[in-house]
């Protein structure tokens, strides 16, 4: 019950009002009567109710003619609502829209700039050809309006018109007007004109010469920058970051002119400024402790006191920038410590940055981080804990000293005792550490001793990678496990249910240990792997082993095959390839920088942009061709790599002499042809994957996991 005075007021209002009221049921019939009522107040109420129904998602398009009757009104609010309605339902009654044209044209000449804007803004949104035919005069007039508010709206309408009807837009010649708007006296108009040009450029690369326009207007942009709204600043700064300075002097000048914006309160302005500076940095001379680097550092740090979504973007971008300028932020490690209130997605990104940021030559810092990560590993969110455990091994391997690694190992073993849910992650991390110190038998003993107590590892471990690692460890240190055979047998029993990595790992382990294992373990694994699996590469591998085993001096051959040492893991942090990194640096702040997928954009956007994509195909073919070439190049690299392995690795050399060479080649051919569509879809990521493959080395890597957990590289691994 509302208070008494309000009730009295309402009563008075209701009794004075003559105009009939509209109930809130929203029945079409009632609304229709209301819309044509003789009382203006009732009509307005009815319009509001109609819009309300529209908001609720009901189809009120049948009221179109009746709503349209109310378009000629002097009430601004009512006009806005009618326009909104027309915009939403114009397509349902294209023939009736013509009735509104007259009002649009009159309104576009209204003395009130607000009405002029409203008219042109709405008119350019209506996808009805008949309306667009009449747009010329109002658009041209508003483009040259005295009022900057109207002009800044009109320049955007050009882009809208271009999207709806490119031919008409070119025919009318409004693009020239748009270009001229870059020289407008008002900074807001300049910014919107720039934004509109960029939009048009994205739709059709040939419509405007964007890059030369940017080039000739750099000084205007720099001038306008200090005098416009925060959003206009973002537009102008993003445009400036597209421009490459002629020489170091100009680059320095641009940097000097924008640096002040690192102190803008809007984080998006700050990030756009950072982008401009990063773009121009390579051109100027600077040292790692110069002023500009300090300013960049503190600007990046300041992005950590923004809303979490913004922090997320910032963290992803910091990851990119750090790879180019690793000396940034080294003193700011603590800023990235996890806050209790951070959302999970921020926490995970922060751990990533922490491990990348820590200076491996600074023992104190590493130790601090180690205790911090240990705390994280004892938290309760499973994803967070799992990432923290991974980070522990990454930190250990980054610091690279055995005493430190064994400290990490102790922590992991301690964690392992605590909880069942984290066994997978600990197992993977422990095996990584062991692969980092392959000579250290003490550590291996420690780890195996713990694993040895597990009576049923097949159930304790959940993920494919963890099982794969566990089985690999069985093969590497068979003497440290007391009841090796039952353990292996459990895995053999479940062979069919396991995924590819575990299957391969099991196959290799059993072949490796075949002389020590009793019974028919070898026979049954080989049979399972050749008959019961759908994984082609597991089958091929099993076939290869089988043939080797049936050759005359099989013992020696197998021994040589199995005794080859795995390369040491010296880095578990993945890196971008130089080309990808350069592209990502150009795309800071964008959505593609969040996904680390540069340039993938054009192909994706195409699907939804309407009827205006013609110019893009050529460019797309070009980029596809480029990807193809890059792909080939990468294959070459891979094969070269294997050649080198052949030289160093006698066992593979022997393989070459045997008939399996053909199989191997088949495998490679198969692999690369399978890759092609993937690379086309997402060239960059595959390049990254291939590179990480190079890092992780050689065929045998299969038995351990690939740390990057990168989908594509995983696929590739599976393929080999």
């Amino acid at each position: 019950m509302p208070p008494l005075d309000k009730r009295i007021k309402k009563f008075l209002k209701d009794s004075i009002r003559i105009a009939p009221k509209i109930s809130s049921k929203g029945e079409l019939g009632e609304l229709r009567t209301g819309l044509v009522s003789q009382y203006p107040q009732t009509r307005k109420d009815a319009i509001k109710k109609t819009i309300q129904q529209m908001t609720l998602g009901k189809d009120v398009s049948s009221l179109f003619p009746d709503v349209l009757k109310n378009i000629a009104t002097i009430d601004v609010e009512q006009k806005k609502l009618v326009y909104l309605y027309v915009m939403n339902y114009a397509e349902t009654h294209p023939e009736l829209c013509i009735l509104a044209v007259n009002t649009f044209i009159t309104d576009a000449q209204d003395p009130n700039p607000l009405i002029r804007c409203l008219a042109i803004r709405t008119m350019s949104m209506i996808r009805v050809e008949k309306i667009l035919e009449y747009i010329e005069t109002p658009l041209r007039r508003t483009l040259h309006d005295d009022n900057a508010y109207v002009r800044k709206t009109a320049v955007i309408c050009v882009a809208k018109l271009f999207q709806l009807n490119k031919e008409l837009c070119v025919e009318l010649g409004v693009l020239e007007d748009l270009v001229n708007a870059l020289d407008d006296s008002n900074p807001l108009v300049i910014a919107n004109a720039t934004a509109a040009l960029i939009e048009i450029h994205n739709m059709d690369m040939n419509a405007v010469k964007l890059s030369s326009l940017i080039q000739s207007h750099v000084s205007q942009f720099l001038l306008a920058l200090n005098e416009c709204t925060e959003w206009a600043r973002i537009t102008i700064l993003s445009t400036l970051s597209e421009y490459s300075a002629k020489d170091s002097l100009e680059a320095q000048d641009i940097i000097d002119r924008v640096t002040a914006h690192l102190q803008h309160v809007n984080p998006a302005v700050v990030l756009a400024t950072i982008k401009v500076i990063v773009r121009n940095l390579p051109q100027i001379e600077y040292s790692s402790n110069s002023m500009i680097m300090k300013r960049l550092s503190s600007a990046l740090v300041s992005l950590m006191s923004t809303p979490p979504e913004m922090q997320y973007v910032a963290l992803k971008n910091i990851r990119i920038i750090l790879e180019k300028y690793p000396e940034l932020l080294t003193k700011e490690l603590r800023i990235f410590y996890i806050k209790f209130t951070d959302p999970l997605y921020v926490k995970l990104e922060k751990i990533d940055i922490l491990v990348r940021l820590v200076d491996p030559s600074n023992l104190k810092q590493c130790t601090l981080l180690l205790t911090e990560l240990k705390e994280y590993a004892m938290e309760y969110e499973p994803e967070f804990v799992s990432r923290a455990i991974q980070a522990l091994s990454q930190l250990g391997i980054k610091y690279a000293q055995e005493s430190f690694v064994s400290k990490v190992l102790d922590i992991l073993l301690e964690l392992l005792e605590r909880q069942d849910t984290i066994k997978d992650d600990c197992c993977i991390s422990l095996c990584d550490l062991l692969r980092h110190c392959p000579e250290n038998n003490e550590m291996a003993k420690q780890v195996c001793a713990v694993f040895n107590t597990w009576s049923n590892p097949e159930v304790l471990l959940q993920s494919d990678i963890a099982k794969c690692n566990f089985v690999w460890l069985l093969g590497q240190h068979p003497n440290d496990f007391s009841n090796l055979e039952p353990k292996i047998n459990i895995f053999i029993e479940n062979f069919v249910q396991e995924e590819a990595l575990t299957q391969v790992s099991l196959l290799m382990t059993v072949v490796r240990l075949h002389s020590t294992l009793t019974g028919s373990a070898l026979q049954s694994v080989l049979e399972l792997a050749t008959q019961q699996t759908h994984e082609l590469d597991v089958r091929d591998m099993a076939m290869m082993y089988w043939r080797c085993l049936s050759m005359p001096n099989s013992e020696k051959l197998i021994n040589d095959l199995c005794q080859s040492k795995l390369p040491m893991i010296s880095n578990t942090l993945d890196k971008f390839s130089p080309e990808v990194l350069e592209k990502l640096l150009m795309e800071l702040g964008t959505i593609s920088s969040i996904y680390f997928k540069p340039n993938a954009d054009r192909r994706k956007g195409e699907k939804y942009v309407q009827n205006i994509v013609k110019g893009k195909h050529m460019e797309e073919l070009e980029s596809m061709a480029k990807d193809e070439i890059a792909n080939k190049a990468n294959d070459d690299v891979l094969l070269d790599f294997d050649d080198r392995n052949d030289a160093t690795n006698t066992s593979t050399g022997m393989l070459n002499t045997s008939s399996t060479l053909g199989d191997l080649d088949d495998l490679f051919d198969f692999g690369s042809s399978e890759d092609t569509p993937q690379i086309n879809k997402d060239g960059s990521k595959t390049v990254q994957g291939l590179n990480s493959l190079n890092l992780n080395d050689n065929l045998n890597t299969m038995s351990t996991n690939n740390k990057n957990n990168n989908g594509v590289s995983q696929d590739l691994l599976d393929l080999f």
């Binding site: 009430d75 609010e77 803004r121 709204t229 603590r334 959505i591």
Partner: protein, 475 residues
């Protein structure tokens, strides 16, 4: 950039939307709740940017709402979109007070109007509430007497597109005053033993300007924030309450303050890091001459903020001791100490100590404040209204635990750590008026209105409070 903006309820169902471009299908938003629930089923990890079928769903959460922007191009500026969404919510909060499901439903007319103005074709336009309120007024639905008058009333202000886009001309106030609040929030992470793992000061200079005409303001602070490690040092307090400065004598005042603070022992000069300014501050002027000058918007706004990351002594310290007698009860002893100078008083101190989810039958003993069990947060909350400097209060609590534990693993003897039983750290909230931790001071605020030439009075107030992350980690 953005193709459409949606306000969705807590399930992700759209309440109100505005399409800015025609390049996405009408049904695009219907996928959003499905995407959300699919993700929720898989894990706790829900990034603020989802991808489906070539569309990007960027969203923020506010109260019971999701505010979503759908974008088609990967080259769209994500930072700008997220910032815009937050700004949009801020603008709506100025209009509707609280932005939530109900207020969105009730005020759809004004929201449509605003959405029309803040963004055009997906490009953010004007988000300055003070200016928007000039021509988008909530009371506009009252019918007007004369049509002509109405038309004049709702013109967009001329200043909108000027370089001073945040202040209309012709503002008059009877009394010309400017209020400055300097608010410092302390974020700190400590271990149970009292070691400070991370600490930072986030400072905010809030202005409430009630000045006529187009005043030009000049703010002087001791920008090398003089920072003392010895907080008990009584001489280093910015003069409390109001500081009135004369327009003409501020240059004379400058040296006197510097000399007085220089007499303090053991001062470490720490420059304020990453200063951030409201858009009204002339950034290039600050860049070149280190002077803060601006034409303020009318009313309240945040003039600047800064951050100082430096090790400071905990202002409110809690010695928490938790003993878990598994399967029977949990004992908590807590000693809180206000480690601030004796003249100051911390107010509204709240100490939130986590307890296990399944704890029950609490019994408390305490000397000051009030203590209660908050089952929905799985914590006990100790409130102390006023906590004078140097005082030490204590409390103890005992809660029962269920005698049967859920996970029956008999052979495991390793007890769970506190971190696993108590989900989360001890959180502390407090306010300390008339005090800044960094030692920042306003030297002068010079107000100059070229046409009106009035006399005006700046008022300055200082306050230190806990930030959103002032916590003690339990291990």
């Amino acid at each position: 950039m953005a193709s459409a903006v949606y306000f969705c309820d807590h399930n992700g169902k759209p309440l109100l939307s505005r399409r800015y471009r025609d390049d996405i299908p009408l049904s695009a938003i219907d996928k959003f709740p499905i995407l959300l629930s699919d993700l929720e089923e898989q894990s706790n990890l829900i990034p603020p940017c989802l991808n489906h079928n070539g569309l990007e769903y960027l969203f923020i959460q506010h109260n019971d709402l999701y505010v979503v922007a759908i974008v088609t191009s990967l080259s769209a500026n994500a930072a700008a979109i997220f910032t815009f969404l937050h700004k949009l919510v801020e603008v709506l909060s100025d209009y509707l007070k609280t932005v939530e499901e109900e207020s969105i439903r009730d005020n759809f007319v004004i929201i449509y109007e605003l959405l029309d103005e803040v963004m055009d074709y997906g490009i953010p336009q004007i988000t300055e509430t003070k200016m928007l309120k000039q021509y988008i007024t909530q009371k506009s639905f009252k019918l007007v007497k004369s049509a002509k008058k109405k038309r004049n009333a709702t013109r967009p202000p001329v200043a909108l597109t000027n370089s001073v886009s945040w202040r209309p001309e012709g503002i008059t106030h009877k009394k010309n005053e400017a209020f400055l609040d300097i608010v410092e929030s302390i974020n700190m992470l400590m271990t149970q033993k009292g070691q400070v793992l991370r600490s930072e000061i986030i400072g905010d200079v809030k202005v409430n300007s009630k000045l006529s005409g187009m005043p030009d303001l000049k703010l002087g602070i001791n920008d090398k924030g003089i920072f003392s490690k010895y907080l008990d040092d009584d001489t280093n307090i910015p003069s409390a309450s109001a500081t009135t400065s004369d327009n003409n004598t501020e240059t004379d005042k400058k040296p006197s303050i510097t000399s007085s603070s220089a007499t303090n022992k053991k001062k470490v000069n720490i420059e304020l890091e990453d200063l951030k300014f409201h858009q009204c501050v002339r950034l290039s002027k600050f860049e070149n001459e280190k002077i803060i000058t601006f034409i303020p918007p009318d009313g309240k706004f945040d003039l600047m903020n800064y951050r100082l990351s430096t090790t400071i002594k905990p202002l409110i310290w809690c010695d928490v001791n938790v003993q878990v007698h598994s399967n029977s009860r949990i004992e908590i002893h807590c000693k809180a100490k206000a480690q601030i100078k004796r003249k100051s008083t911390a107010t509204n101190v709240e100490i939130l100590i986590p307890v296990p989810d399944d704890a029950d039958t609490p019994t408390f003993k305490y000397s000051h404040g009030s203590l209660k069990y908050v089952p929905e947060k799985s914590a006990i909350l100790w409130k102390i209204r006023s906590f004078p400097g140097g005082k030490e209060y204590s409390m103890s609590a005992e809660l029962g635990l269920p005698s049967i534990s859920n996970n029956e693993d008999g052979n495991r003897t390793i007890p769970k750590s506190n971190a696993e039983i108590l989900k989360g750290p001890v959180q502390i909230k407090f306010q300390i008026p008339y005090f800044t931790t960094s030692g920042i001071q306003v030297r002068y605020l010079k107000i100059n209105e070229p046409k009106l030439q009035y006399k005006s009075y700046p008022w300055v107030r200082y306050i230190t409070q806990s930030g959103d992350d002032y916590t003690i980690r339990l291990t």
